[in-house]
C-alpha cells in the first residue's frame, strides 16, 4: 500500500481536537469529559505523528514519536487521577446526603464547618 498522506492526518488531528474541546465544554458527565480530554490528546498526537511522517527519507522523524509516547503516558496518568478524584467526590456527596437524611443536624453542621478549611 502506498504511503499515508500526512495532510489528511494533520486535518483529522485538528478535527479530533476541536470535537474533544467542544465536548469538554458542553458535556456535564465526568466520564464524558475525561474521554473528551483523551480525544483532544489523540488529536494532538495524530498531529505530531503526521508531522513526523512528512520527512523525505525512509525513517520518520523519531523526535515527535518520542514526544507522543511521553504524551500518552501523561494522558493515562491524568485519566487515572481524574477518575480517582471523581470517585472521591461521589463518595463525599454520598456521605453528605447520608448525614442529611440521618437527620442529625449537629453532624451535618460539623461537616459543613470542616469544608471551609
Amino acid at each position: 500500500m502506498p504511503e499515508a498522506s500526512p495532510t489528511l492526518y494533520l486535518l483529522a488531528g485538528a478535527l479530533l481536537f476541536a470535537i474533544g474541546f467542544h465536548s469538554l465544554l458542553v458535556q456535564p458527565h465526568v466520564l464524558r469529559r475525561v474521554m473528551a480530554l483523551n480525544v483532544m490528546g489523540v488529536g494532538v498526537f495524530l498531529l505530531f505523528a503526521a508531522l513526523a511522517a512528512r520527512t523525505r527519507g525512509e525513517t520518520p522523524d523519531p523526535v515527535p514519536h518520542a514526544m507522543v509516547l511521553t504524551g500518552i503516558v501523561v494522558s493515562v496518568c491524568a485519566t487515572g487521577l481524574a477518575l480517582a478524584l471523581a470517585h472521591r467526590l461521589e463518595a463525599a456527596e454520598e456521605e453528605e446526603r447520608e448525614d442529611e437524611s440521618a437527620g442529625d443536624g449537629r453532624q451535618a453542621r460539623a461537616e459543613h464547618e470542616e469544608t471551609d478549611r
Partner: protein, 229 residues
C-alpha cells in the same frame, strides 16, 4: 435565575461554545495547511548521532538519551499519579481467593509468565526495533493487574513496603543515573562514552518494573487497604 432564563442562557452558551470550537478548527486547519511543504525535523541529527546513543532504535535513542530528561520527568508524572490516587482514596483491592476456581488458576499460570516474558522481550528489543520500557511496562502492568485481581492483592497488601519500593524504583534509579552521570562526565544524564547501552538498559529495567506496577495500581484506583476498615 428562573428556569426559562437558565435554558436561554444554556442555549446561548451552547452556540458560543460551538462557535468557539468551529473557530478553533478553522484556525488549526489553516495552521496545518500553511506548514512548509518539506520537513525533515530533527531526523538528520537524530539518525546521524545514533551510533553514539547506545541503541539503534531511534525512538529509544530520543527517549533514553537525547531527551532522556523528558523521560525522567515523565516517570515523575507516573509517580505523582500513583501518589495522588493513593492520597485521594482507598482502592477496591480485591481480597480474592482463588481456591475452587482451578480454571482461573491454570489460566493465570500460563498468562502471567507469558506476559512477563513478552514484557522482557519488548524491553530488550526496544534497543533495535519498536518496543521499549513503556510498551513492556504496559505488558507488565497487565500481568500485575491479573495477579492482583486474582488474589495476590492480599499478598501485596501485606507487603505494601515492597510494593511502594517497586513503584518508586524507576524514578530513583533514573534520578540516580542522572546524578551519577553528572559525577562521571560533568553533565546531567550524559552517560560515560561507550557505556550508554548498559546505562540505558539498567534505567529501562528499573523503569519497566515501576511502570508496570503503576499502571496496574492505577487500575485499582486507590491505596491498598480494606475498604470498610
Amino acid at each position: 435565575m428562573t428556569a426559562r432564563a437558565d435554558r436561554g442562557h444554556g442555549r446561548a452558551s451552547r452556540v458560543a461554545v460551538g462557535a468557539l470550537a468551529l473557530g478553533l478548527l478553522a484556525a488549526l486547519s489553516w495552521a496545518v495547511l500553511s506548514l512548509p511543504g518539506s520537513f525533515d525535523g530533527l531526523t538528520g541529527p537524530a539518525l546521524g548521532r545514533l551510533s553514539e546513543s547506545g541503541v539503534t532504535n531511534p525512538v529509544t535513542a530520543v527517549l533514553l538519551n537525547y531527551r532522556a530528561y523528558d523521560t525522567l520527568l515523565e516517570l515523575a508524572v507516573l509517580l505523582l499519579a500513583i501518589a495522588g490516587v493513593w492520597a485521594l482514596r482507598r482502592g477496591d483491592w480485591p481480597a480474592g481467593d482463588l481456591h475452587g476456581r482451578p480454571l482461573v488458576i491454570s489460566l493465570l499460570r500460563i498468562a502471567l509468565p507469558l506476559l512477563t516474558l513478552t514484557a522482557g522481550y519488548l524491553l530488550w528489543i526496544g534497543a533495535f526495533a519498536p518496543g521499549g520500557a513503556f510498551q513492556g511496562g504496559a505488558m507488565l502492568g497487565a500481568a500485575a493487574l491479573l495477579a492482583l485481581l486474582s488474589g495476590r492483592a492480599v499478598c501485596a497488601r501485606r507487603h505494601t513496603g515492597a510494593l511502594r519500593a517497586g513503584l518508586v524504583l524507576g524514578v530513583l534509579v533514573f534520578a540516580g543515573a542522572a546524578g551519577g552521570a553528572a559525577a562521571l562526565t560533568g553533565e546531567i544524564l550524559r552517560y560515560p562514552p561507550g557505556d550508554a547501552d548498559v546505562w540505558i538498559l539498567g534505567i529501562e529495567a528499573a523503569a519497566i518494573v515501576s511502570i508496570g506496577l503503576t499502571l496496574g495500581a492505577l487500575y485499582l484506583g486507590g491505596r491498598p487497604g480494606d475498604r470498610h476498615a
